[in-house]
Structure formats: structure tokens, C-alpha cells
Symmetry: C2
Subunit: 458 residues, 2 copies
């Protein structure tokens, strides 16, 4: 057990401005959970440093008192990685939210971790540039949090995820040392690739205090198309056929039957509620190349049994066609008090089988289940809808997730494609990686953080 | 000092077929160097395991005798990472050279580390696919070695380097445990990203025994163009203008004046030997998109002072235009007994200044210097040409390299963009990364390899 909250707070107010140390009930409650529905805790104190030097002070002070530190961005994480399960200090990056530089000749930005993704994108846009990763939480998620979780998004198929976008990091280590990994260059192989090791390490290895990220010129155009299929098997075969035809669109999303009916009930978009699957495809870039790419996908879909195939004419219609995908989670959230959003991955050819087996896993458990996701990546988002006050519903959800993870692994997939491990999936990590690898994770964690200041990574 | 060569060999022949343990002079000499000109050593024994199980046996046996292991692919590395500077065992992957699987629906291959890159490409080509990374040594470099060094190539600007291509690894650790990192999926954030940590770790953390790598559909077309500039400043500004215009071609290469004259002397391609710089640009993909992209680059070059701007009409002319770049190193190798090929990176806007300062660094040292490289990445390959039997020439080269590295770092760059650190640059790694980071490298290395079985990484 670490020191008392009082001693911790007393030590922190010595090194931070008074208003950067929060102990009121609202702050402690809010900092106790992120967007994972089944995990919550309560820290002893929340700190809001404004600079790398203040982060160093927090780390040194807290480490000296043997209390833990949990780093927090916007709390939009879906796996509980920001939940301070051991109490102690929550270090919020809220006051480190400046875009420090946008370089058009170098196609990059330098920014602090608390910058919200859409703010970064707006700063880039002033220079005709954009930040490619686009998680659904872009309007509130922070750059630091999305780097810590290696967040994905709708454009990942063609443009990669956060892992590909982060070029360099400034990081405060557990001993208070500050290192700079990577840099401003796309190609730099000097030393171990700590940048990519830290991206996706979910706050377990250090505190990200500055990031250098790649930007892209804003594409000339982007557009969208949709196709309806009788069943997910046909939709999945179409996805494989599209990619095999040499077309790699920016976006290739699917909704299953339950997602389609929920969206139609909520948003009245005129979707065919008898459909087994909806495929939404999009691309961006040179206008005529985008047009040709979407037409080619439309042809492949039609040849593979797709019905009602539409390619948007103009930006407004493109937005309309994307609406079904954007509405999926909000629509499912209307079905029950909890819409527990999952995230597993399987090799593309096993997509339909995975969705089928996820349905089987929920059978007889009294849970409503829908699945949508990134068909091009084999990245599925099952959503379990239930009322946690119902007897046994939370247990049924937990048991279902266990089966979902085992299914993904049996099909050669992963327990998490883009949301991360967090507290939610930590018990399943060894099932995927094996005990020799998780033992290595623990040695690696100890190389960064021998005292366990930050949360455990395995 | 480790055990005697006799004891080591006696122990290894117990666990390997007799013909997989080599002690003849030719084998020991050949395994003593890679393609770094200033580094050589002599191992006690060379082993050629044929399976992961045999690699485990070599690792366990050698570790038990406290002797070191240096892993070797084709020896095409340019930084000395395959040089067995402590003697002991060289583990060659020569007999692990099978492509195990090519999956067209998943756009990936599974292969052993000893597969030569062009053989992998040929296997992929049977399925209409290709392996994107294309280091100049593709015809002899191995997949394992190129992963260990995170090799780059001409297509890196658009398609990324080996870091982006490797999806998963099987690795034998120093304690003989076998782990599998990553997997068949593009998106997988379960646990620390050991795949990218191992890619580029240059054999210091473990032995790669199997790889899963991403493949791409073979592009419909690829083409090339060239432009001549009065000076490198203008060429460099054109590169920045091309990228700022939103065009990211597959290839954007430059040759400086000395490279141009050397190529023209050797190959008589009709190059303008009064030019200060030659820019070679190429793209691949949809035929009309490629055509449009090259025309756009040609326009930007012409607007920026480019002369004799040509875009290839047809594949044969495209190959001809690339010839100048392909001939650069062979042409420089004719100038002196040693053409010492370097590899530094700088932010794109500092490209011309870097080349200028590299020229200054060689002045008065009696060395001939030329620079070519990947302009789009800011990745420069200075080449120092000299006769090492000349008094002080090798020392002059070493001193020059020191200045070149310091120049790259002063301009915000790196001591290595794609060739790696190896023995050649190990003394300069701390200058770039700082002592806190190299100390972390050493702790991280110890987490993988506490006994120092593999070469040091920092």
C-alpha cells in the first residue's frame, strides 16, 4: 500500500501550481473511469501539469513516495487503460494541448499530448494538410491518448493507423529522465525503435509529453459507395475480391443485419432491413482515381451478389452514405443502458465465420448483439447491449467476451485490433501471446519502470 | 574470454548435422565480414541450422558455453552488424530459405529468414503480388537480414520500408525460448509491439526464424521521369514543392554533380555533365494516375528551374531513365579501390545544405566524394572513394564520417536512415540519442539477452 492521500497531495502541491492539483470529489470520480463500461476506480489525486518539467516533477515526487501514476488523455479509451486501479495519481494531459508547429515542407506537426485530434486536424488544414488517423472519438480523443493506444480509425486500410503516423516522441521515464525517440524523419534506424514500442504501450512505460506526427496533403477529393448483401459471407468474399483486384481503398466497412436494423430504427436512412450485410467503401485522393476506384469496387460487389450498389455523386451524398456507419454505435446505444463495444481481429477470409460464432457465443445469455467494423482489416466491433442491473447480465457479458476472444484466437486473430488491452483484456493477453512472451513483456516493462510507477503491461 | 573453439565445435556437432558445422578457413574468413569496408573479424565456427529447432539447439549450446552468437544473412549489410567482433559462432540462415506460404486473400507471405528478396518477390509474383521493400541488394540480401536492419529502398517514399512490411516474426530468444510476435493481421495492438522493436534491432535481441510479411498486388504500371537542375538547391526545392503539391510518388531520387559525372564516364548515358543535380522520379499504380502524377512532377520541376525534363513513354524508356540511379554506386566503385557507402538522413529542406557541408568535410583530405540518395526521404548516401593503402586514407575516411554524422545531427537528422548502426556507427549512437536513451537501450537489451549472447546494441 502506498502513502496516504494527504502526504501525496502535500508533496505534489510543493512542485505544481495549486490549481493544478485536484482533490475534489467530482475530479476524482471523473478520473476514475474511461469509456470501458465495466471498469472504475478512484485515484487519490488528479494533477494537470502544463509542461514537461512539471511532468518530471510529478513523476519524481510520486515515485519517491512509492505511489502509482496513471496517465489520462480525454478518457475516450475503451479498454480501461486510463482507470487508476491502484489509486494514487492520475496525470491528466489536459493543460498540455498546444500544436507547437506545422511544417508543410516536412509534412509533419509537433504537438503536445493533450491536443484533441480534430484540433490538430484543424491546425494542419490551415496548411492544406491533414492528420490521417481518424478514430471515431476524434472530436474529443487526445493525440497522446491515441498514440498510447495506437488508435485506428476508418481510413486505416490505406493510410495506416497511429503507429504509422507517429514519427517521434518526447517521453518522461519512470526515473524522471526525459528521452526523445525517433524524430522528424520518415526513415531513421538509429537504435531500437522505441517510438513504435511506446506507441500502443498504453501508458505503462512512460509519459508522452510531446509528439512529432506525419501529416498528409488534404486529398483532392474523397467519396463513398455502398452495397447490400444477402449475407455476410457474400460481403466478406466481395471484400477479399476487391483487395485481390489491386484496389486498396481508404475505407471498407461493414454492418451486420442487427446493426442495419438498429440504425434504420434510429435514423430512418431507408436501409434495406432484410439485408444480411451492408458494405460501405470509400476512397480519397486524385478525383478521377477515386471515381475509378469506387466504380471498380462497385463492379466487384455487383458481381459478387451485391444489391442496390450506389457510388456517391458529390460530397453531400458521400456523407449520407457514411451516415449508416457513423450511426451504428449511437443506434445500438439506444437499445439498452449499456452498449459494450468490443474489438477483435481475424484474418479477412474468416470475417463471416467470426461474426457467426460471436452470435453463437451470445445465444441463450439474454444479450442483444450486433457486429460492425473494418472489413478490409478483419477488425470487428461486436457490441453487446444489455442492462447491467439485470440479474447476471454483466456476468453474461464477461463470459461472452471470453468466448469472443477465444474465437478470434482460434481463427488466427487478435483480442484487440485497435482499442488496446487495458484492464479489460489483460487476463487474456497471455492466451494470445504465450507465457514466454508475456514474461518478456514484464522484463521489458521492468527495463523502463522497475518500480512499477505506471500500470502493469502484462 | 569464452571457451576454446575446439570445445565449442565439439558441442555444436552434438546438436547439428555434421555438414552444418563449418570450420574450414574459407568459411571462417567469409563469415568474418559483411559489406562494411572497414570492419572484419574471424569467428570460431559457422553453423547453418535448417530449422527453428536447430536454431534453438545452437543458441542453448552456445549460451551454455558462454560464447557469443552473431546472426548472418547474405552479408550484404553495410554497417558491420554481421561482423563477429567477439569471435564465437556465426549462425547463418542460408539453409532456412523456404517461402512457406503466399496468401492472396490475405495479401501476405510466410517465409524463412534465409529467403533472398528477389526469390520472395518471384514467389509473390506467381499470385499477382509483390514485396514492396526493394533495397539495392535485393538480388542477394535475405529477408531475415533486411528485417534485422529494417532495410529501405527506392520505393520507400510511398510504400514504406521493411518496418511497415513485416507483420509478424518467430524469434528464438537468448534463453532458447521461441516467441511469435504480431501475426497475420494489419491491425493488432495486443501487447507491446515487439515486431517493430525486433525489426531494425540488427541481431542484438534474438534470432528471427520465420517472418510474416505484407504483400501488395503488382501495380498495373510503373513509370519514371527525370529532370536536370543547375544546382542541388533548386532540385531540393523542387522535391519539397512536389510533396507539398500533394503528390507522393513511389520514388524521388537525386544524384549530385560528382555522381552524374562518374555515371556518365562509366555508362555513357548521355547525361548533362554540367548539371548540378539530377532528379529521378517514379510512380506505380493505376496507369492513368501514374501518368498524371509524373506529368505533375514534371511541371513542378520545370517551374522550379528543371531542364531537359523527360517522362518515360513505355517501360523500356522508364528503365533507361532509372539506369543513372542504378549505375551510381557501380560507377563510383570504379574510381578507387574502396567506395565507402554512407547513409545519413536530414529533414528534407536541409538536403542541399547537408550535401554542401559533406563536401566541405572531405576538403583537403584527399578523398573523392559523391552523394546520391532518396531525396523524398531526406536520406543521403555519401560515397567516399579512396585507396586504403594510401597513407592515412582510412583515417581520413573515418574522420570524415565523424564530421558527416555530426553534420546530419546538427541539421536535425540521423546517423542512419536505412543501413543501420552496426559496428560502424555504434560509437556515434549516443551522440544522437543521448545517454539516458542509450542506457535504456542497454536495459532493454538485458531484458532480452541478459548474458550478452548476441552483439551489443548500444
Amino acid at each position: 500500500m502506498h502513502v496516504s492521500a494527504d502526504r501525496l497531495v502535500a508533496a505534489l502541491v510543493e512542485v505544481l501550481p495549486a490549481d493544478a492539483v485536484l482533490v475534489d470529489d467530482a475530479a476524482l470520480t471523473a478520473a476514475g473511469r474511461d469509456t470501458a463500461p465495466l471498469h472504475a476506480a478512484r485515484p487519490d489525486v488528479v494533477v494537470e501539469p502544463s509542461s514537461t518539467a512539471e511532468v518530471v516533477a510529478v513523476v519524481r515526487t510520486t515515485a519517491a513516495l512509492d505511489a502509482p501514476v496513471t496517465v489520462r488523455g480525454a478518457g475516450s479509451g475503451l479498454a480501461g487503460a486510463a482507470v487508476p486501479s491502484r489509486g494514487g495519481v492520475v496525470l491528466s494531459t489536459r493543460r498540455m494541448a498546444r500544436v507547437l508547429e506545422v511544417s508543410r515542407p516536412e509534412l509533419l506537426a509537433v504537438a503536445q499530448p493533450g491536443v484533441v485530434l480534430t484540433d490538430l486536424d484543424a491546425a494542419a488544414d490551415e496548411h492544406g494538410l491533414r492528420y490521417a488517423p481518424d478514430p471515431a472519438s476524434s472530436a474529443w480523443a487526445t493525440l497522446g491518448g491515441s498514440a498510447a493506444t495506437s488508435a485506428g480509425g476508418l481510413r486505416g486500410l490505406k493510410h495506416g493507423t497511429t503507429r504509422e503516423a507517429v514519427l517521434g516522441l518526447e517521453v518522461v521515464l519512470a526515473d524522471g529522465e526525459v528521452i526523445r525517440t525517433g524524430g522528424r524523419l520518415r526513415k531513421d534506424v538509429a537504435g531500437y525503435d522505441l517510438t513504435r514500442l511506446l506507441v500502443g504501450s498504453e501508458g505503462t512505460l512512460g509519459v508522452i509529453t510531446e509528439l512529432i506526427v506525419a501529416l498528409q496533403p488534404v486529398p483532392q477529393t474523397s467519396s463513398t459507395g455502398v452495397a447490400v448483401f444477402d449475407d455476410l459471407e457474400a460481403a466478406s468474399r466481395a471484400v477479399t475480391a476487391v483487395l485481390a483486384a489491386g484496389v486498396v481503398p481508404a475505407t471498407l466497412e461493414f454492418l451486420d443485419h442487427r446493426s442495419i436494423t438498429a440504425v434504420e430504427d434510429a435514423a430512418h436512412l431507408g436501409l434495406d432491413t432484410t439485408a444480411g450485410a451492408l458494405l460501405i467503401f470509400g476512397d480519397d485522393g486524385d478525383a478521377s482515381a477515386v471515381q475509378r476506384s469506387l466504380e471498380q469496387i462497385a463492379q466487384v460487389c455487383a458481381a459478387g451478389g451485391g444489391r442496390d450498389v450506389v457510388v456517391a455523386e458529390g460530397a453531400a451524398q458521400a456523407e449520407d452514405l457514411l451516415a449508416a456507419r457513423r450511426c451504428a454505435l449511437p443506434a445500438l446505444q439506444r437499445l439498452a443502458p449499456v452498449a459494450d463495444l468490443g474489438d477483435v481481429g481475424v484474418p479477412r477470409p474468416h470475417l463471416a465465420q467470426a461474426v457467426h460464432r460471436i452470435g453463437e457465443a451470445t445465444r441463450g445469455r439474454g444479450l442483444d448483439v450486433a457486429v460492425f467494423g473494418h472489413a478490409g482489416d478483419g477488425n470487428l466491433h461486436p457490441v453487446l447491449c444489455y442492462d447491467p442491473s439485470d440479474d447476471g447480465a454483466a456476468d453474461a457479458a464477461r463470459a461472452t467476451w471470453g468466448e469472443v476472444y477465444r474465437t478470434a484466437l482460434e481463427l488466427g486473430g487478435t483480442i484487440t485490433g485497435e482499442h488496446g488491452v487495458g484492464l479489460a483484456k489483460l487476463p487474456y493477453l497471455e492466451l494470445q501471446r504465450g507465457s514466454a512472451q508475456t514474461a518478456l513483456y514484464r522484463r521489458l516493462k521492468a527495463a523502463f519502470d522497475p518500480g512499477g510507477l505506471f500500470p502493469a503491461g502484462a
